[in-house]
């Protein structure tokens, strides 16, 4: 029996020690040294991708970037627990989840470079594109789950959102629907303590995990910087959903170590001591300690992991900088699935307008040559 009490579940201590726990351990029995090392590699690589993307923004190659620094365990642990046919409905910060899903790095940053409103086809990776309207995607996940339920398949929807989103009507309505219809959906809340400048206390006077039981949804409150606890909790929730047990709510307690986005300046509202404290709970650090004690970390492993991360960063940078700008007339593409006369007229008018420029430009060119 899983204990759904609101105690924080931690299976890996800050010091890197494995904490045994009878109800959770069976769900992570397969996480041996090599399996944990694979998770560690993922976390190192996505941190490097995240850092590179921040640098690309600073260099003017990206318009904006929402860093996930500090949330690697929450995202990698949950994403790696999913089956290929499960479907993900993320917010805009789940770039590590997208990485696990096999989204091309260039496609991850496409939206942040301003080239398109999304970077990938959701159906090819079973992951929706970033949702910027806070919490809206939780309803989409619930609806997808209702569809899976009606199709009699055991695929599960998982939706990611933050502590701030739990205040939105959409998220609460999603929980009402999910409970009412016992939809196979996992609500994965990364409580990273901050909604831009607002500490989590503005959104909730009790633990966020406490809210779900009131909707009739079992809830787990886990250390979100502990990749083992995240993996276990996500597997438990997925299994409940797959076997007709309905929705589960997971509050992964983590920390947004960076700014909300590259446009934000946390020094205006956040005590640096808080960040320093959370750095001691770094998700990579503690997993590295465990792996070291397991003898998995060797100079060769370190070098190979760093090389992997560097290669990912290089691929991201090259893909980002080499991305061609969209063609002007593509502004009219994909507004409707079927032809639209009004829009076609606007497209034709604008094409004519652009051509008139070209003609003027050409004649000016000819005049200069003459």
């Amino acid at each position: 029996m899983i204990d759904f009490s609101p105690q924080l579940v931690q299976l890996l201590s800050i010091e890197g020690e494995r904490i045994p726990r009878g109800d959770f351990d069976p769900w992570v029995e397969d996480l041996d040294g090599p399996a944990l090392l694979a998770l560690y590699r993922d976390m190192v690589v996505v941190r490097r991708i995240d850092t590179e993307a921040t640098a690309l923004q600073r260099q003017g190659e990206l318009g904006l970037w929402p860093p996930l620094l500090g949330q690697e365990a929450a995202q990698i642990g949950s994403a790696r627990a999913l089956r290929r046919d499960d479907f993900i409905f993320p917010s805009y910060r789940e770039n590590a989840v997208a990485y696990c899903r096999g989204v091309k790095l260039t496609d991850i940053v496409k939206v942040w470079r301003g080239n398109a409103q999304s970077g990938w086809d959701p159906y090819t990776v079973q992951m929706a594109t970033p949702a910027i309207i806070i919490g809206a995607q939780t309803l989409h996940a619930t609806g997808w789950a209702l569809g899976a339920q009606r199709d009699d398949v055991d695929s599960v929807a998982i939706t990611y959102f933050g502590d701030g989103a739990t205040s939105e009507g959409d998220v609460n309505e999603a929980m009402v629907f999910a409970a009412s219809f016992q939809a196979p959906v996992v609500f994965f809340c990364q409580n990273n303590q901050w909604a831009i400048s607002e500490p989590v206390g503005v959104q909730a006077h009790r633990n966020i995990a406490d809210r779900a039981p009131g909707f009739g949804i079992p809830s787990l409150r886990i250390d979100g910087n502990d990749v083992i606890a995240v993996t276990a909790a996500t597997r438990i929730a997925l299994d409940r959903a797959r076997t007709g047990g309905g929705p589960t709510f997971i509050e992964a307690v983590t920390y947004r170590m960076g700014p909300h986005t590259t446009a934000d300046d946390p020094t205006r509202y956040r005590d640096p001591a808080e960040l320093a404290e959370w750095k001691t709970r770094d998700p990579l650090l503690r997993l590295h300690r465990l792996l070291t004690s397991l003898g998995e970390i060797t100079p060769e492993v370190e070098a190979a992991t760093a090389a992997l991360a560097d290669a990912a960063a290089a691929e991201l940078r090259a893909g980002c900088i080499g991305m061609p700008d969209p063609e002007p007339l593509s502004v009219f593409d994909h507004v409707y699935a079927t032809p639209n006369a009004t829009l076609e007229r606007q497209r034709a008018d604008y094409a004519g307008y652009l051509t008139s420029f070209g003609a003027e430009h050409d004649s000016a060119e000819q005049n200069r040559k003459a």
């Binding site: 318009g63 904006l64 805009y92 939206v111 942040w112 470079r113 301003g114 080239n115 398109a116 409103q117 910027i132 309207i133 806070i134 919490g135 701030g164 989103a165 205040s167 939105e168 009507g169 959409d170 909604a195 831009i196 400048s197 607002e198 503005v202 959104q203 446009a263 934000d264 205006r268 509202y269 700008d325 969209p326 002007p328 593509s330 502004v331 009219f332 507004v335 009004t342 829009l343 606007q346 604008y350 307008y353 420029f357």
Partner: protein, 350 residues
């Protein structure tokens, strides 16, 4: 029995022990964002019933810093960092207004207003009518709007027509620092609900500001007189329209540029007088063309000034597309060349 807290008792709530910025008392050069900040400050000093609600408006001072330092000056009972729930921001403002407060809501970005749309359209706009005037809704809803800043989706929209189509709301859009200051004070003082649109790409543009209420927020203003074409603009495009008029002047076309300021109601007296003089009309806005304000204004002017028109009025607007990604926004947004193209059309040059 505990006496009910009346609005008047709120004034005794002290602010935090922070330096109290002195309100604007003389002409100063301010950015548009700072001008709104000063207008809010003065409104809060003038009336203890003015309270601010919004996301990140406290310690951060809002994502555009428009509410900077107001938390320190007036305290958390009047500058309220709300949970992330736009429907609740508007809906609780209705309750505060019910009790005699004058709430000023900040919606963080144009595209985030829609979770609050139901409360605005179904409640804020209708309460006065519903109660036959018994309940007033002196609510100001500040909305940074428009594009041109290379932002992500939902951060560059122009949703004003949804609100001009909603009876019971006043809608204004400011274009410069002076109006930003004067009109935020007028909006807050108004007993009607006001949607106050702030063109976010002009937040950092400086202008002289005198601490006066100035012209009524209902009045349109001729920002550049002319005789050949009437060019209507609001928000960020007023500057673009003025630049277009300068460029056209070099080509021998005299454009009268009007800053509408009020989008609902539109100041048709000023618009009609201008069209009767020029005989030609161009309306520009960033919002999509179909169902936009330009169509409504042109229809009204055509009804009233048909015999004065020398040519068919023209709209120069955003396309009928969702706001495009940043790399395409320069195609979508009306710029100087597209406005001049519209001017050429009403002049019969194309």
């Amino acid at each position: 029995m505990t006496p009910l807290m009346t609005p008047a008792t709120v004034s005794t709530v002290p602010g935090l022990n922070a330096p109290q910025p002195i309100p604007l008392s003389e002409t100063k050069t301010l950015t548009m964002g700072k001008a709104i900040n000063e207008g809010l400050r003065q409104a809060m000093l003038d009336d203890p019933r003015v309270v601010l609600l919004g996301e990140d408006i406290g310690a951060l001072g809002g994502v555009f810093r428009v509410t900077s330092d107001l938390l320190a000056q007036f305290g958390a009972r009047r500058v309220i960092d709300t949970p992330l729930a736009e429907s609740a921001i508007i809906g609780t403002a209705v309750g505060l207004a019910y009790r005699g407060y004058r709430p000023v809501c900040e919606i963080q970005f144009d595209g985030f207003i829609f979770p609050g749309f139901d409360q605005i359209v179904s409640q804020v706009a209708k309460f006065h009518y519903r109660t036959q005037g018994a309940v007033r809704m002196p609510i100001t809803i500040r909305v940074p709007f428009g594009g041109g800043i290379g932002a992500a989706e939902h951060h560059s929209e122009s949703p004003e027509a949804y609100f001009t189509h909603t009876s019971g709301l006043r809608v204004i859009a400011v274009s410069n620092a002076q109006d930003a200051y004067s009109l935020i004070r007028q909006a807050i003082a108004s007993d009607d609900p006001v949607l106050y649109f702030e063109p976010k790409r002009r937040y950092h543009v400086k202008g002289e500001v005198v601490p006066e209420l100035g012209l009524s927020m209902e009045q349109a203003v001729i920002v550049r007189p002319g005789t050949d074409v009437t060019l209507l603009a609001y928000g960020a495009l007023v500057t673009t329209a003025r630049d277009a008029a300068l460029a056209a002047f070099d080509e021998g076309i005299s454009i009268e540029v009007i800053d509408l300021r009020s989008l609902s109601p539109v100041d048709y007296a000023v618009v009609e007088a201008s069209v009767r003089k020029t005989g030609r009309l161009v309306v520009t806005h960033e919002a999509a063309q179909s169902g936009g304000l330009g169509g409504e204004i042109i229809a009204t002017v055509t009804e009233r000034c048909f015999s004065y028109l020398e040519s068919a009025p023209v709209r120069v607007t955003g396309f009928d597309v969702p706001y495009p990604p940043a790399k395409l926004e320069s195609c979508h947004l009306p710029d100087l060349d597209r406005i001049l193209d519209g001017v050429d059309r009403v002049m019969g040059r194309r």
